[in-house]
């Protein structure tokens, strides 16, 4: 048996809450986070609903204890990563080999966009302070430095599966004894770059998204950050709090079909789910809940659903897409949903898939539409698929 990897702390900030408790409360009360853009200045403000964190940069900076001029992605990352570390109850991690593995897709793009306006007119103009944190890795370092973590720092960017891969890589480092503690997850702020990019692909729903519904029209783009603290058995033995769960399985595969579209049969997602089951030594019937990637696009939901059918038929576990609450937080979505998966195990909850009305004609199953409480949830599968065919599945298990 490989060494277990315990989930000992959680942190999250999203459109449905500024910390884990607020997120959980919104999930239990079926309160989604989408609405009109308030903090991102864009010509699409009135037309494209988004799921924004309900705080200005100045408010986030004060929560993060960082200067407000830096990227919003770094501010979100800082708030969630610090919450996750605090949640472990560990006063100090400096006696352990500790890593910070963070994911994002936009880096400091929110500031670069501002820089580019004067810069395009005259390339000697634009404040360098607005572009100095452009690189994805810089966002990670701002947070790592503030947390005092330096043994291993890296950044992963595989589009919408980025933070699932960060958790995956962190688990590998613990399993192989390279590190004792890993803070892993991801962050992405809303930017005009991503809003416009997804808009050109015509996969944004003009209303609140409806994952896995026959009449789904697309995704709602969103922002947020979430981290888990993973620890080795040795560290776990020193903690006074019980772990949320273990990370028992993980697999990453590539769809190798198209730069942005998923294959109709969900080849990559099938391989990721199957591989994660194999790694955990579980059978499909052992899974008590699937937290779907479920973006709400025609393409993803059909592809993911077809792969689930192939793997799980005829015994379908309860499933839902919590993107019906949070929207699609891109680089943060894998870890945000990992936090929700850990909470599902801890509290015996299955979250509803909001706004579901009409079953998809291609699929023999439908998602859960109301909160299920008091369940025995032993194993949760969480899916994250992204551009470039990058597909990852994680399995969390009761410890």
């Amino acid at each position: 048996m490989p060494a277990p990897v315990f989930i000992a702390g959680l942190g999250a900030i999203s459109a449905i809450g500024n910390n884990v408790q607020e997120n959980l409360s919104s999930l239990k009360k079926s309160i989604p986070g989408m609405g009109t853009m308030r903090h991102l200045p864009s010509v699409h403000q009135q037309f494209i609903p988004v799921a924004e964190v309900k705080k200005s940069n100045a408010e986030l900076a004060s929560l993060a204890r960082l200067p407000s001029g830096i990227s919003r992605t770094a501010l979100l990352s800082m708030i969630a990563a610090r919450e996750a570390l605090t949640d472990t109850g560990m006063a100090d991690v400096s006696s352990w080999k500790t890593g910070f593995i963070s994911a994002n897709t936009t880096g400091g793009m929110d500031r670069t966009e501002d820089f580019f306006i004067p810069f395009l007119k005259d390339n000697s103009r634009g404040h360098l302070r607005d572009v100095v944190n452009h690189e994805c890795g810089t966002v990670t370092e701002i947070v790592a430095d503030a947390l005092g973590i330096k043994d291993l720092i890296t950044t992963i960017s595989t589009a919408c599966s980025s933070s699932a891969n960060a958790i995956f890589f962190g688990a590998r480092l613990i399993r192989q004894g390279r590190l004792d503690i890993v803070v892993a997850g991801g962050a992405d702020a809303l930017t005009r770059f991503t809003v416009n990019g997804f808009n050109t692909l015509m996969i944004l729903d003009g209303e609140f998204c409806k994952p896995f519904d026959e009449r789904r029209k697309g995704l709602n783009i969103a922002e947020g950050a979430a981290y888990v603290v993973m620890v080795s058995e040795k560290v776990m033995a020193t903690l006074s709090r019980a772990p949320y769960c273990t990370l028992s399985g993980y697999c990453n595969a590539n769809d190798a079909y198209h730069q942005t579209a998923s294959s109709p049969e969900g080849a990559g997602s099938f391989l990721a789910m199957k591989g994660a089951l194999q790694k955990s030594g579980l059978q499909p019937r052992d899974i008590d809940y699937i937290n779907l990637h479920g973006t709400g696009t025609q393409n993803n939901d059909l592809s993911e659903g077809t792969a689930i059918q192939r793997l799980f038929d005829p015994h379908y576990p309860p499933m839902s897409s919590t993107k019906s609450f949070t929207g699609h937080t891109l680089g943060a979505s894998g870890s945000l949903e990992a936090v929700y998966s850990a909470l599902s195990i801890r509290h015996g909850l299955i979250y509803p898939n909001l706004r579901f009305e009409t079953p998809m004609k291609e699929l023999p199953f439908t998602p859960v539409v109301e909160l299920l409480e008091g369940r025995q949830v032993n194993h949760v599968m969480s899916n994250s698929f992204g551009f470039g065919g990058n597909c990852s599945s994680l399995i969390f298990s009761k410890s």
Partner: protein, 351 residues
């Protein structure tokens, strides 16, 4: 965690594509920028795909395909890429149109190719590889992280082979911005980069890919015996101790090293710091530089590994301007320092 380096491919500012060692005629920098010499892509990449690919994607795909061709391998068990800046040309294009057209009438191609994982994704698409695929984007640790993931993947026996590498590009605009940040020598710089007494370096770019195996094969260049990164060492002594610990852990004495490749980049203060560390910990060992060949960029250690592997296969340094009279080279240490923040150590040994 010994890993076998079986094959490689390199697109760089030197004519390295299709070669296994540093070419005899070395091309120096013109001004403060060294541009990659791109191969004829037509024989490698389907023209329909090629037309849509930006420079970084072309360079990355070409280096990766060259590597797989040398390995005579169709499908590796994993593809792991590193890139610090990602696809700058496509990012720049989409961003510029977005600003100039006030977010109206945009087209998706540049956006969908702007994501950092595009190079790895395009490789998997071309060779129809559905296996493990990851992408690291951490500044001066981008290649190192990809290499670490590759080594851990093999260590965990998840597969037998990994295609791993790194790619970064310079664009006109990125060069302007980084120049304004004070990274480079003046635009009209000429002369020898290494040994320069002024501040600043010369910008570089390139793509280098490697096929790593869990088990030895008859065609291996060398083994990668150890990899270590350390972050923001507070002073020269701390950096020295990290190097000492690395060698101790691998049970290697300084005297066992035949050659060191260092990341000197021509910036006087950067290089004097590097000199101090190396002379203190590893006195008297012959050393080579590589950034006079590829320029300075965050994932340049991939070029250094390519160069080290070529030297180890022959056992000697090719007669370039870098040449030093050492033969029977069996074991080398690569030590890079990027902006004083990201420090890298790699130990490589001949097979």
């Amino acid at each position: 965690m010994k890993t076998y380096l079986r094959a490689m491919g390199n697109v760089s500012p030197q004519p390295t594509y299709g070669r296994r060692e540093i070419p005899l005629a070395v091309i120096g920098p013109t001004g403060n920028r060294m541009m990659a010499m791109e191969p004829d892509y037509k024989e490698l990449i389907d023209p329909k795909m090629l037309r849509r690919m930006s420079r970084i994607i072309r360079m990355g795909v070409a280096a990766a395909m060259e590597c797989l061709r040398e390995a005579a391998l169709q499908t590796p068990d994993a593809i792991i890429t590193g890139t610090a800046y990602g696809c700058l040309q496509d990012t720049d294009l989409f961003l510029t149109r977005m600003v100039e057209q006030h977010e109206e009438l945009l087209t998706p191609t540049a956006f969908i190719q702007s994501t950092h994982n595009t190079v790895g994704a395009q490789i998997s698409l071309i060779i129809q590889c559905r296996n493990y695929n990851n992408c690291f984007v951490h500044r001066g640790f981008s290649f190192e992280s990809a290499l670490l993931d590759a080594m851990l993947f093999l260590e965990e026996e998840e597969g037998e082979t990994v295609l791993t590498g790194a790619v970064d590009e310079i664009t006109d605009r990125s060069h302007v911005i980084l120049s304004r940040m004070g990274l480079y020598k003046p635009r009209d710089f000429s002369g020898e980069l290494i040994g320069s007494t002024t501040r600043g370096t010369v910008a570089g770019e390139g793509a280098a890919f490697f096929l790593l195996g869990r088990k030895p094969s008859v065609q291996d260049y060398c083994t990668i015996d150890g990899l270590k990164t350390f972050y923001k060492p507070s002073n020269v002594d701390v950096a020295g101790n990290e190097i000492r610990d690395f060698l101790d852990e691998l049970k290697v004495h300084a005297a066992d090293l035949d050659l060191i490749i260092t990341g000197k980049n021509g910036d006087a203060s950067h290089d004097s710091h590097l000199n101090e560390v190396v002379q203190d910990i590893l006195p008297g060992i012959p050393s080579l530089t590589y950034k006079d060949l590829c320029g300075e960029y965050p994932s340049s250690t991939a070029f250094a590994l390519w160069m080290a592997a070529g030297i180890l296969r022959k056992g000697k340094v090719p007669a370039t301007k870098n040449s030093i009279a050492v033969e029977g080279i069996r074991r080398m240490l690569i030590y890079n320092n990027y902006l004083g923040i990201h420090h890298t150590l790699m130990l490589v040994t001949a097979c």
